[in-house]
Assembly symmetry: C2
Homo-oligomer: 457 residues x 2
């Protein structure tokens, strides 16, 4: 069979799992979550762990995995279903397409659950079914114990290093994401609100029949890190921060660009942007197998600190400022994270994927939000996303103000008040010797962004 045949891909994933985990496991796909009444539902998204091994988004299904074998459990659609949802493939056909060894209706699942390991699904309706079928409560996916934890560790090992099929899907998602961001830049000229730019960007993703990997951030208030409102008018002096990514067959991309509404960065915006871009570029240049991701984070922090010192916003020696976490006043999140079937890949498992065994989140202000602390390996995909933000809840916090009093030149900072939030985020595939930027087609240099935005005027 062709190595890109989905059955071969799935077989290889199962075999890798079997190398890391002995014993049976069952993974549930989940069900559609109701929105405001049972028939009006959010679009279905299968559990990522299920999707990885099943290769197909099936609602109300489960797979049993053991020693490289796959057994599919699901029910065929009933006769009435065809009127409302059209003809559906039969379980047997689906099982064949995914290379399952056996397939059964869900009613047979009960006799397969003894001593199996599992990962709790996200939607709580299915979680209740899962716990009932498995005969015990599961607790949080972040704090698994015993063989469930062993299974989770094995899944982390397999999902973290992407196979060609995964890389190819993320590449496609990234390509559409690039188009979405270009459409956003193009739409800015005639837009009056954030919502209009968001619409132009998501329309590209939708037109390619993909979904968004996460709720888009498209805002002139980029200092609110997870801003998910879009009602604000946009004005000529504003920067727009757009964090929008497409998802292809479950595989995510995650890209941020920041551009000027007017089509031209002001000199203060340009100055800060260049610093963020320098941090972005140096992290990508240094990314390679064996490199500690935490060191990239600290490198981004140092680059930002140096730049802010050179602009007179921070005072002192950059190394010392980073040791004191002064950079985190302006860059309060981590420089990136794993990317895969989840935009923060496997974050349902807490830090099991993000943190190497034995490592834990640090409570330092400048490191606490770092989602990834591992040496990079070939075929990992990560984001690199340094930023600069003026967050009132940080900068106006009296304790932080007094703690960092000697570090900040407030009079100088005030000159940069037209720079509320900047983030530059790309998706990076770790290769044998370095890194490939999957989103390289999207301009990140100010002059390129400006000329793209102004090409039609």
């Amino acid at each position: 069979m062709n190595p890109s045949d989905p059955r071969v891909v799935l077989q290889q994933r199962r075999e890798k799992l079997a190398q890391h985990f002995c014993g049976p496991a069952i993974l549930w796909s989940g069900s559609e979550s109701p929105r405001n009444f049972p028939a009006n539902r959010f679009p279905f998204r299968a559990s990522s762990h299920f999707l990885f091994f099943a290769g197909r988004s099936l609602a109300n299904a489960a797979i049993h995995l053991e020693a490289g074998k796959l057994t599919l459990f699901m029910d065929d659609a009933d006769a009435n279903d065809a009127l409302w949802h059209g003809p559906s493939p039969r379980r047997q056909e689906i099982a064949k397409q995914m290379g399952a060894d056996q397939d059964y209706p869900l009613s047979k699942l009960a006799s397969w659950t003894q001593d199996v390991a599992t990962i709790p699904v996200q939607d709580s309706a299915t979680r209740q079914i899962q716990e009932k079928q498995i005969g015990r409560t599961l607790g949080s996916a972040k704090q698994l114990q015993g063989h469930n934890r062993q299974l989770a560790k094995a899944i982390v090992a397999v999902r973290m290093i992407h196979d060609q099929s995964a890389i190819s899907s993320i590449r496609e998602a990234a390509a559409v994401t690039v188009k979405a961001h270009l459409a956003g830049m193009t739409a800015t000229y005639n837009a009056q609100t954030e919502a209009e730019i968001r619409a132009a960007m998501e329309a590209v993703i939708m037109a390619h029949n993909l979904t968004c990997a996460y709720n888009s951030i498209v805002t002139v208030q980029g200092e609110v890190l997870h801003n998910q409102s879009y009602h604000r008018p946009i004005r000529a002096g504003d920067l727009l921060l757009a964090d929008v990514g497409a998802e292809k067959e479950g595989w995510a991309s995650d890209v941020t660009r920041t551009w000027p509404i007017s089509g031209s960065f002001s000199s203060t915006q340009h100055d800060i942007y260049d610093i963020v871009l320098a941090a972005h570029d140096i992290c990508i240049a240094k990314a390679a197998p064996g490199v500690e991701f935490r060191d990239l984070h600290l490198l981004a922090a140092l680059t930002l600190a140096e730049g802010l010192v050179s602009l007179g916003i921070l005072k002192g020696k950059a190394e010392t400022l980073v040791e004191r976490d002064a950079h985190a006043l302006f860059f309060p999140h981590g420089v990136g994270h794993l990317l895969g079937l989840d935009v923060h890949d496997m974050e349902d498992l807490g830090d099991l994927a993000g943190y190497a065994p034995g490592r834990k989140r640090c409570d330092r202000f400048g490191l606490g939000f770092l989602r990834l602390d591992r040496p990079l390996q070939k075929s990992m995909i990560v984001t690199i996303e340094p930023g600069f933000y003026q967050v009132p809840s940080l900068l106006k916090n009296p304790e932080r103000q007094s703690h960092y009093q000697d570090c900040i030149n407030w009079d100088q900072l005030v000159k940069f008040k037209d720079v509320q939030g900047i983030r530059i985020e790309d998706d990076i595939l770790i290769t044998a010797k370095g890194a490939e930027v999957l989103t390289a087609a999207l301009p990140s240099v100010p002059s390129q962004i400006e000329s793209y935005m102004n090409r039609c005027i």
Copy 2:
């Protein structure tokens, strides 16, 4: 205070409720449902019952209603929240804006739950909290008992007859929906796939910072009633069926148009379209207070049957064909439904809203899918949506074929194979003497659709 002040509107809703229900009630808003990991969530949509009385989409909140008084229970955002989500209004401020009589943190809710009536929320995570706080299991919202059922009946009475604020929101949702459909018609000329047309339509809704009231149907396979895939290429001879509606502050619109990909209906498409349009127009012309919605449904059925007889597809007398449900071979759903905060308003309560007291779903093939069986009343909003479909699971069903053998001219039907699915759906406000079409600005006559589509060529 101004009668359109939200506090006045909400006060009036509470007072109306108190006229229909004595005793305390608590309504939960629900929480965000996770998509693939806890931090990656579907956009929040508050429970419609909560939204109606709270006037505001608040996650993780509850309101206590009694004798026209409102008590709000919710927690203030914690300090860290501002970094990720920006500053949030405090509970006290929200309570003031909604005209609440009192407000408390959620921890106080436990002492308010004795003997309260409630409606089960949709998301099962909140449902578990709700059942725990109320101290008993709730069962399905479709089969409430005791004082929960009394509360549901009272809510139905209040929500079914829309106030000016509700009508105004639905009107705005309908206006944006009209624009979305026009954008879909415009986009058809250059589109290659269903997905591209869907994107053009939903982009309009998103650009107005509204959401979709339901998952859009945009398909050349309109005979699949709830078709929610968009991957198909579109071809010149196809009809495109688009059932897309915007939601404004929770208030839904629900509109369907069917148009030819080429910009011109074929003569067979035109013939069938005219029949569906005749059914649509006559139902709207007859809609008025006191008219039984079921009679409108049967009038649509009769109009379709007459038309299909005139085209030689059905054989016999139209009245007899409708009595035998032969029309349902081509029109297997009801002619409309209540519209409000839910696109099928209050369908979470089963048929409590849709069916007048003492009435039940009929198991007749031609009536079983009728969602509304009540006399119309002033200030109800309903959809009128007759259709014609060639559904293989109905027309190729051997039992139905033999049962209706004498009714159908199969040789004639085969000539209409380029008419797979047509639906024409508008949103209708029942007025004192008749009905107002809230979506009247959207062309429904074939020549108007054709000239709109061809205006730029």
